[in-house]
């Protein structure tokens, strides 16, 4: 997999742990949410979880201080639940760690993802990154506040005031 962080190609420092594999305690490990109970309380290496699209933000709230990466799975690009989940984690729960979109997303959704608070997106190996970066430079104005903006609606809905 290739990784785009804030739109730029980046090396993935996380180890995606397969479902049956042991969870290593000395590297940044990305595990399925359902395996969280297996993680020892004294773990010091970074921990990330993959969550399904039906996950509600309040389910994740208790573990936000334990994880440094939340990877939201998009089973199909048409399934937009992840946008609401991402926005809620940032806006409502002030989650400050990495928020990554994984699964089936399109370059045309790249800007929406960042505007909803995602910091990274996983792209299939071999896929051309050009449309992904082009999508970020496409629009020069927006009608809504970005979730990570300090600005209020009034300042961001340009033309207003």
């Amino acid at each position: 997999m290739q990784l785009l962080e804030q739109g730029r190609p980046a090396a993935d420092r996380w180890l995606r742990v397969a479902d049956a594999a042991p969870i290593p305690d000395d590297v940044a490990a990305l595990i399925g949410l359902e395996r969280l109970a297996e993680v020892p309380a004294g773990r010091t290496a970074p921990l990330g979880v993959v969550v399904g699209p039906a996950t509600l933000p309040e389910e994740l709230a208790p573990l936000l201080n334990r994880v440094a990466l939340i990877a939201v799975a998009f089973p199909k690009f048409r399934d937009g639940r992840g946008f609401t989940l991402g926005r809620a984690l940032r806006e409502r729960f002030r989650y400050g760690g990495e928020l990554r979109a994984v699964g089936h997303v399109l370059p045309d959704q790249h800007l929406f993802l960042l505007r909803c608070g995602f910091s990274a997106v996983e792209v299939a190996d071999g896929a051309d990154l050009a449309p992904w970066t082009a999508a970020l430079g496409r629009f020069h104005t927006a009608y809504q506040a970005m979730v990570t903006d300090k600005a209020t609606l009034r300042q961001c809905m340009r033309r207003f005031g």
Binding site: R78, R81, F83, R92, L113, A142, Y143, A145, L153, M157
Partner: protein
């Protein structure tokens, strides 16, 4: 626009004017779409991936060609924008367009390889096709007499424009479970069908002048017609965006994703129950950072300024010239009786241009007619045209003493049919003549019925009755809420039509009742005639069709329809 070689008026009706930001945004959007088309033609996007992207730019693949649905935001057009539709019709289509029940216009013969050029041509006149399809927030619709109607307390265009901006390429709500439609009214009589939308807003003004909204949610037609319920009785203006965000967030997180037929918000509301749904929305609303989503009064004022009333002349309410013209011309008098709506300013009136000539295609308009209407709008109506949700056009602000001249100009264009609200003012979707989803044709059924009752005197005797004909259960022609609703169904590859009676889309909204087994194509006109004969036989003094139906119910009509069967 230089305004030198046109009849363009010096002063125009208030209309939202694009600024540099809006225009840049449209150019960016055209470039994005052009790239998407190129990727599709080159094979970099599959049809499955391209489809939702083209749909969000209003491009469908229909039976014979691609169809482009252009937005007419809340149904308001400048005369120059109307002329630009004529340009698109001539350059990229076959010289005509079709106005829809969602106050938009559709072109039926677009080529994919020219679609980006067509959209760029629209953008030249600040027009676009953004979010006219797809699982996103669609064109916000409203009252075609907004800013003019005598019974209006709040101009809904101001809020429709604010919602247009808020919903345009909304990063969170562009991949919803299903399409999402919002309607707004600001008048005593609901002419926007707010109880049949995903969200309906009724604006009210209190004694102090403050605006608030009644919020309705969960209405819709289609396969499962459901009326909306009132989730908030009085939402302050400043909270509008925050509350709508809360509703959309609950819907996006919990709406059905498995089955396309169970994905609208109405199904979520039905499944969790109104009380629980209200609780979920109120919870979400309570924890929103409300300051961020506050709709400030100065924002509203800035948008309001775009919709400032045109410079009306000071005129008497009763107009001698109009009265004299009516006295001297019975046909004109009959047209005035049907095709006008009272205006809030003395000496003015709103005029309806019927797109339902007898035997014509409901909602269709040729490029030549579009150009002519634009010129008449400049001459008589401050350069502005409205599209109504019953597929007619409206000149909202016409001087009463110029109405006769306007009517005389409309006649040779085939645009002076005096049938608004009468039987031949039929609402019909494109149906199986064009639409890939349709089961049966709708347009020729409308034509057959209109021709059967072509005599306007007979139509006047029958009085106001709305006939809505949809070619499939998606209900684009709103058959569920027609006084007489006709739904095309497919029986072993042949066209059949199911009839419903007693629907209504306004304040007393109601889903119509199915009369019984469906009728074959060549039986539908007889069935409609039987229904209307029954009504004429049993009506009491002063009763319209809908009144009689409400008094008697289905029984006498059912009996008449199926007695011989």
């Amino acid at each position: 626009m230089d305004g030198l070689d046109r009849t363009a008026p010096q002063v125009t009706a208030g209309i939202y004017k694009y600024d540099a930001y809006d225009r840049q945004f449209l150019r960016d959007r055209v470039a994005e779409f052009r790239g998407q088309v190129d990727r599709r033609l080159a094979g970099a996007l599959s049809e499955d991936e391209f489809k939702p992207l083209r749909l969000m730019n209003g491009l469908y693949l229909q039976l014979h060609a691609y169809m482009l649905r252009c937005a007419v935001p809340y149904g308001v057009l400048s005369s120059d924008q109307m002329r630009q539709f004529a340009v698109v019709a001539r350059r990229f289509d076959r010289g005509y367009g079709h106005f829809t029940t969602r106050q938009n216009i559709q072109f039926n013969w677009i080529k994919l390889e020219e679609a980006a050029d067509a959209i760029a041509t629209l953008a030249d006149a600040d027009l676009h096709a953004i979010q006219t399809s797809g699982n996103c927030i669609r064109n916000v619709t409203t009252d075609e007499y907004a800013g003019a109607a005598f019974d209006e307390s709040v101009d809904p265009r101001v809020y429709a424009e604010i919602l247009r901006q808020w919903s345009t390429l909304h990063p969170e709500f562009s991949f919803l479970p299903r399409k999402f439609k919002i309607a707004i009214t600001g008048a005593a009589r609901d002419r926007a069908a707010i109880q049949l939308h995903d969200i309906g807003l009724a604006a009210r003004r209190d004694a102090s002048g403050a605006v608030s909204f009644e919020v309705w949610v969960g209405g819709g037609m289609g396969r499962t017609p459901i009326l909306a319920y009132r989730i908030r009785e009085r939402l302050p203006e400043a909270e509008t965006i925050a509350y709508l965000e809360a509703i959309l967030r609950v819907y996006n997180a919990l709406g059905g994703r498995e089955n396309i037929h169970k994905a609208r918000i109405k199904i979520l509301v039905r499944d969790v129950g109104q009380a629980r749904f209200t609780e979920l929305v109120e919870q979400e609303y309570a924890r929103l950072p409300r300051e961020r989503y506050r709709l400030e009064p100065e924002v509203v004022a800035a948008i309001q300024a775009h919709f400032a009333p045109p410079p009306f002349a000071v005129l008497p309410q009763a107009d001698a010239a109009l009265a004299a013209a009516c006295d001297g011309d019975a046909e004109f008098a009959a047209w005035v009786g049907r095709n006008t709506h009272p205006h809030k300013v003395a000496g003015y009136i709103s005029a309806v241009i019927s797109l339902k000539p007898i035997g014509g295609i409901p909602g269709d308009c040729s490029a030549a007619q579009m150009d002519a209407i634009a010129d008449l709008a400049d001459r008589y109506a401050f350069g502005e045209v409205r599209v109504s949700h019953v597929q007619n056009l409206v000149l909202a602000h016409v001087r009463k003493d110029e109405l006769y001249a306007l009517w005389q100009a409309l006649r040779p264009l085939g645009l002076a049919t005096g049938n608004v609200g009468l039987l031949s003012d039929i609402i019909a979707c494109p149906g199986l003549d064009y639409c890939a989803l349709a089961n049966a044709r709708a347009i020729p059924v409308a034509q057959l019925i209109a021709e059967r009752f072509a005599d306007l005197h007979r139509q006047h005797d029958i009085g106001s009755v709305y006939i809505n004909i949809s070619g499939c259960i998606n209900a684009c022609a709103h058959h569920h809420v027609g006084h007489i609703g006709i739904l095309g169904v497919d029986r072993k590859g042949e066209e059949y039509y199911q009839i419903t009676l007693g629907g209504s889309a306004t304040n007393d909204a109601r889903i119509g009742d199915i009369v019984g087994p469906s009728f074959a194509y060549d039986q539908v006109t007889d069935a409609v005639e039987t229904i209307l004969r029954s009504y004429l036989a049993i009506r009491q003094a002063g009763e319209l069709f809908i009144d009689t139906y409400r008094r008697t119910g289905l029984a006498p009509f059912k009996e008449a329809l199926y007695a011989t069967a």
